[in-house]
């Protein structure tokens, strides 16, 4: 029982990374019809920047948590204006290839500068050690990651459902063409939405820094699982990506705890089952003709 609860908390923390990153992926896919293969690389950049800030500028975790999303938002805006926008009207494969290329370049740039051995990062001050709940010991940092990622997901949800900006983005996401014909300048929202999705991936990266090995390739494995998350949740569904993110985190943690040989496979078995039972994903809209 004790182990089960520890695995659960560990799974919810890992799920937090997946939920945040998948949320960004879903928002970008919805609004731009772009499958952003560079999302794992943006997540990696978030973690690497966090480590670099500490090592070279002595900026601690909390500063990174505030600063990195802003930097990645600007970076996302630049990438969209410079590269992505030119391919938006074309077949979805073009932006898929483009973002795949972007991820290769980013990974190699980081590898050239920092090598492959990984950057060190300690648990941030104030979040070290464990809390005791009855007889069970839970790492403070994992509890924090879970709580913080839920908070960010809630904020994004509020932004999307309670503001005029969110309403316009939802409309543009659901039916870009019709929204144009109703007087919405859809193009104007494309760039900030892309930047926003990248920034949320950056937050996941910052949270991962003290918890995962910070290497140039940390996003490459991550993106594979992320696509499984998005398929399970339903492509383009924001709620689905969050729920599936936590679900996959849990499956992974239980797998590692109880059947470590199968930990990675379990996620894809889950994905296969979901595709068989609900081809559009747990929260996906059915294809309409």
């Amino acid at each position: 029982m004790e182990a089960f609860i520890q695995y659960t908390v560990q799974g919810l923390a890992a799920g937090g990374f997946y939920a945040l990153a998948a949320l960004g992926l879903a928002i970008i896919f919805g609004a731009l019809n772009v499958v952003n293969f560079a999302h794992g690389a943006f997540y990696m950049l978030g973690a690497v920047l966090t480590a670099v800030f500490l090592e070279f500028a002595n900026l601690n975790f909390w500063v990174s948590l505030a600063l990195v999303p802003v930097i990645l938002f600007i970076f996302g805006v630049i990438v969209e204006r410079l590269l992505v926008q030119w391919l938006l009207g074309l077949d979805i494969l073009y932006t898929f290839l483009l973002t795949f290329g972007i991820s290769l370049v980013l990974v190699d740039l980081v590898r050239m500068r920092f090598g492959v051995s990984g950057l060190p990062y300690d648990q941030p001050p104030g979040l070290t050690g464990s809390v005791h709940v009855g007889a069970i010991e839970l790492p403070v940092y994992q509890v924090f990651v879970f709580g913080f990622s839920v908070l960010i997901c809630l904020l994004v949800w509020l932004l999307l459902t309670k503001t005029r900006m969110g309403m316009v983005v939802r409309a543009a996401t659901e039916e870009p063409e019709r929204s144009r014909a109703l007087g919405i300048n859809v193009s104007r929202w494309i760039t900030p939405v892309f930047g926003f999705g990248v920034a949320v991936a950056g937050i996941a990266g910052v949270l991962a820094a003290p918890f995962r090995a910070i290497t140039a390739t940390m996003g490459s494995n991550f993106i594979i699982i992320l696509f499984a998350v998005v398929v399970i949740g339903g492509l383009g569904s924001i709620l689905g990506s969050v729920v599936a993110g936590f679900l996959v985190g849990l499956v992974e943690a239980y797998g590692q705890g109880y059947a470590s040989n199968f930990a990675q496979i379990l996620i894809f078995i889950l994905m296969a089952v979901v595709i068989l039972v609900r081809p559009a994903g747990l929260f996906g809209r059915k294809e309409t003709s």
Binding site: A171, R180, A181, L182, G183
Partner: protein
Amino acid sequence: MFDVTGLYASYGQAAVLHDVSLSIKPGEVVTLVGRNGAGKTTLLRSIMGLHRDCRGAVTMEGKRIETFSPNQRAKAGLGWVPDNRGIYSSLTVAENLTLPPIVGKDAWSLNRVYDAFPALKERRSSMGTQLSGGEQQMLAIARVLRMGARLLLLDEPSEGLAPVIVQSIGRIIREAKEQGLAVLLVEQNVKFAATVADRHYLLAQGRVVEQLSNKDFQLREHELLEHLGM
């Protein structure tokens, strides 16, 4: 007030509209009648700027708008009610109503919309697609009235709806007309068209084959029904 002159449209090699011209004055309800596949929806989409493969002049209130993007055309006063009604499933009824920007000074206030459509007021926090078909059609029309569009482009608003709902759609069209709005109505329901329109354009194989006053239209109703294959 609104003119289409010499409009041609095609899908790749297949020509869909040939030299279509029509004009509408403020306070006038004009229908576009024709069989399925005559090009009615393509004409509306071309007017809205959504069908790219077309050429010809489109003039709104003296302004040439054929080079405008769809959202600029909406801002110029064109209110599109698509044939699938175009209700957003991820937006509530109230959000569906207030999504488009207000583009005219005679835009209906939200209160006026709710007075005219009590069902929408009652269900304003429901998601858009939870409404019945008739309510969705009301919502789609209410949306362009709230927007303050001066030309309403209605694509088969009566399709698949109960007679009593079709009647209330007729009432709204007449109210819009009295307010001085222009209405271009695509319709296959000849009887309904005759109850609301001033003039009719007959579209066949992508051409305007005839233009009729509502009086002549009513006199020839049987012949037209035959032409439409109904």
